[in-house]
Symmetry: C2
Subunit: 125 residues, 2 copies
């Protein structure tokens, strides 16, 4: 990935401008205006390259394919709409400040916290 192609520009731009994390198919859709005829393989290829270059980062969701967002943001969390399945970015607040950090009109039905680390048993080895 060293050449500057219209497809690559469109994909990078789509991710930068979205304001929320996008899945591979969302990237495809969002990029088609600027790069008609864009194929899904190219989207995957460029997402991979952008990840390796550190320009975007992966937003992993339980039971769903990952979304991608511009890298370098401050600590923040996400909101997934159960209807449109879009994922939004929430401000930096952690629970239980989260209610206040919600955009107007967003309704919460549940939340999930997953903590990553090393357990006591594994720490001993």
């Amino acid at each position: 990935m060293q050449r500057d192609t219209s497809q690559r520009r469109a994909i990078r731009r789509a991710l930068e401008d979205a304001g929320r994390p996008l899945g591979a198919l969302e990237v495809l859709e969002a990029s088609k205006g600027e790069a008609p005829g864009l194929g899904i393989a190219t989207v995957y290829r460029n997402i991979k390259a952008l990840l390796e270059e550190g320009d975007i980062s992966e937003v992993a969701l339980p039971g769903e394919p990952p979304r991608y967002e511009a890298a370098g943001k401050d600590h923040h969390h996400h909101f997934r709409c159960a209807r449109c399945e879009r994922v939004y970015e929430l401000g930096g607040a952690c629970l239980p400040d989260l209610k206040n950090a919600l955009p107007r009109g967003f309704r919460v039905t549940s939340h999930e916290v997953l903590v990553h680390g090393v357990c006591a048993a594994c720490s001993k080895r």
Copy 2:
């Protein structure tokens, strides 16, 4: 699923006794003592049935196959060990009380909050 088989008993028991959410293969392993020769298909079948009956619930994780735990627990979160890949149950505390709620010897490297709900745009329809 209406008959009381040794396999079904073993699977239910494994999930009840584990004290932490188990994946399908973990269930298989944990049940083999009580039900030798147990097949993975039977594990999946019974997990599905137990889910439908509401006896267990699914713990979805980003980028991983789901784990399963006894249903009816109070609100709580999970901890995934990066080394052994086991998932543990954490007490009911939400962030930022989470640090105090950690079992002794558990080390946190990161955490994730995912909020579920309906966004403003979808609420309007």
